[in-house]
Symmetry: C2
Subunit: 436 residues, 2 copies
């Protein structure tokens, strides 16, 4: 516990938003971090595409290069923070760093969701560790919570708001009664949403994070592309009003839950009851609710993205690596083995309440027809709201139905049946409902 | 990662609610825990006051004794879970276990708050570790969050609902409009409150937990008895109605916050704004909100007490000890050094909004007198509600005042001044107000 202990030298690969934040934190909080790690942690070298650009960082020019080799081949560097997004060249960089004996800390969830098993296997073979707290839910220590703190529990379910951009858009639409396109523009102007926000709003980002959490929690590897996924593009302000009328808000919720030994997963816009923690998660915040068999329900809330919250998680992982905790966690957390069973999740039902909006032609007998179809599929109805047809465009009115709990397959079949009938106009919307 | 690795043998000292839960979890989830720890964890021996009592545990009778020596002198045992409450014999037992080379896991917050520095010092001298996640907020992994996950942050503030019993009482009073005594009886009947709930309702328990968290977060040791502390006994349902009228609930909140390099701490009933996470924490749940300079505000919510949530934290600590993480954390977390500076917190102001209830004699000029006194002390008023005097007992009416932010010392002086004046009847109530 003396700061005169031998310093650890770190290479920072990628000086975008997160990489710059990591350098700032390591430099500006150096004294504090030295106390936490028991020795100084120095940024020895950085790698980025444009070394000449002024990022306001206290890094000597001769320490910044475009060449990953300056980090991987520098034997004084023991830990590398890989803070480059996307799959390539991030994957090749990770391989090169591991092959050259570096422990790696990363925030790249796409890389882990796509190539996790092979990269973990390589690290294991090389006797190195990969730490990735920052890859999921930014500053929220959810990876440590599942992998270490809840280790005594069998996890029963995970529900998370894992994408800050889409949560910002949904909660802003709700607060301002504004449309999706309008709020998306605002989010881009404010820097919450990327110029190309496709991976955020179509649920890809949340799905990749869910795949990583499910791996930790359930010990299975689910290729993220197999997880049913619906984005928020189809959420309109009418839908929000209908949900609010019933006491709910709409959030993009990632769910993994186990019942009867089977794992069900999905990412989709979901009705969450007003007053519950997920419904009260606004703006760019993330939230995760976990149920463990011993601990019961735990809830975590915090900034899921942004420069310093993510840097906070990266630097915590660097400290963990320096003191030796990361190596132990990586070695003992058997769920990251390459031979983790791949889970089959397709066709696995969750039994939940559902919210349906059907746009019907306003004429007699329609309600009985719709409810009849639901009944044929064994779905019972909790409530129906038929809105006043006055002023409805072309005699089309929305019918809002809340079902009792039913299986995913049954409700999907029923909705397809309804949409194929001659009483509806346009496609129905069907969302899962969470009451707790 | 094979379950054929050499088992670790554990001694469980204390078979009360938590101790029995720990044995149950280690036995019933043995396969899962073996995977997490990389080797089996066996309950080798248990110690309790009454070995003959049937607790429904799968422990052979010859493994249960009243003698701590059966654990401390058994060289096959490397880890002991000390799950006895109170100061003695818990302190002597901890010393004996450490002296005999056992790593210790404990849930005893009173012991750590009272004797932490000397016990940590002894463990360090003996090359052993003490892990104590279960001592604060039960299943919520707040010790790991502060000590490890937020290690890159300088913590700015901690606010917590750390005592489940008093939170159950306050939220039940609020929901049912019931009186304190009535709800306390109910809590005792339901097993939420002890037969002697003094340490819960007078704030002692929360204060001891706050002292431990502040130690981790701020690196200073504050003797818990020096922390200003007010219990919930004075909270009545009228006070709750007045708070609700202004948009607040009342919670027993433990606060430690740093400003200008000074640490301020207290435990007291506090107005928390409806809709904020602390206000939405109900029943026996605990919650902690932490602000770090990098991560921003984090919020954790979960069951803060009870058999299995607490056992979950104890067993996670046992796993951490077995795999070697606990030893690293104990060694590197410098804040637990016996030579941590003792903080002086008395007289350190927090600047906050305050809620005042003054019972005044209903006659002209009273309001101007009260507001005049506040003005003399430099306190400005945000709002005043004077309730309808009709039906007021003996012409005494409650005056409810919300101040703008002001220092603790100023408001305390002003209230003393008001209470010494001839326009009030009985003592005023003054509570801090948290808006976020």
């Amino acid at each position: 516990m003396t700061s005169s202990a031998k310093p650890v030298r770190v290479g920072v690969v990628g000086l975008g938003t997160v990489g710059s934040g990591v350098v700032r934190l390591l430099v500006e909080s150096a004294d504090h971090i030295t106390r936490q790690a028991g020795r100084p942690i120095l940024v020895e070298r950085a790698v980025c595409r444009d070394p000449a650009r002024d990022r306001g960082l206290r890094l000597p020019a001769d320490r910044v290069s475009t060449d990953i080799g300056t980090v991987s081949r520098d034997s004084s560097i023991s830990v590398a923070a890989l803070l480059v997004g996307g799959l390539e060249p991030a994957r090749s960089m990770m391989v090169e760093l591991l092959e050259n004996g570096k422990d790696v800390v990363t925030a790249n969830k796409a890389l882990l969701a796509e190539h996790g098993p092979e990269l973990f296997e390589l690290a294991r073979r090389k006797g190195r560790s990969i730490a990735f707290e920052a890859a999921v839910a930014g500053g929220i220590p959810i990876v440590a919570a599942i992998g270490e703190c809840l280790a005594a529990n069998r996890i029963e379910s995970i529900r998370g708001i894992l994408n800050g951009t889409s949560n910002f858009i949904l909660s802003k639409m709700e607060e301002d009664g504004a449309g999706y396109a309008e709020v998306l523009q605002l989010a881009q102007a404010k820097g919450y949403a990327e110029a190309d926000p496709a991976m955020d709003v179509d649920g890809t980002d949340a799905t990749q994070k869910l795949a990583i959490l499910a791996h930790l929690a359930f010990g299975v590897w689910v290729p993220w592309g197999e997880i049913p996924r619906t984005g928020i593009e189809g959420v309109d302000s009418d839908l929000m009003s209908h949900a609010a009328e019933l006491g709910y808000r709409i959030r993009l919720v990632a769910v993994a839950s186990r019942s009867d030994g089977k794992l069900a997963m999905r990412v989709a816009p979901t009705l969450v009851k007003i007053g519950t923690p997920l419904a009260e998660t606004r703006g760019a915040f993330n939230a995760v609710s976990i149920v463990g068999d011993a601990v019961g329900r735990m809830f975590f809330h915090g900034l899921g993205a942004g420069q310093m919250p993510t840097a906070s998680a990266v630097v915590a992982d660097i400290i963990d690596t320096v003191v030796g905790r990361a190596a132990i966690t990586f070695r003992t957390t058997g769920v990251l083995d390459a031979d983790s069973p791949a889970a089959r999740i397709s066709g696995i039902d969750m039994t939940e309440k559902h919210f349906l909006r059907v746009c019907v032609n306003d004429r007699p007998g329609v309600l009985s027809r719709i409810t009849g179809i639901l009944g044929e599929h064994g779905i019972s109805i909790a409530s129906v709201i038929q809105h006043d047809p006055s002023g409805a465009a072309g005699g089309v009115v929305p019918l809002v139905i809340m079902t009792h709990a039913c299986g995913t397959t049954a409700i999907q079949k029923a909705v397809a049946h309804i949409d194929a009938s001659d009483v509806v106009s346009g496609r129905s919307v069907c969302l899962s409902v969470l009451d707790d």
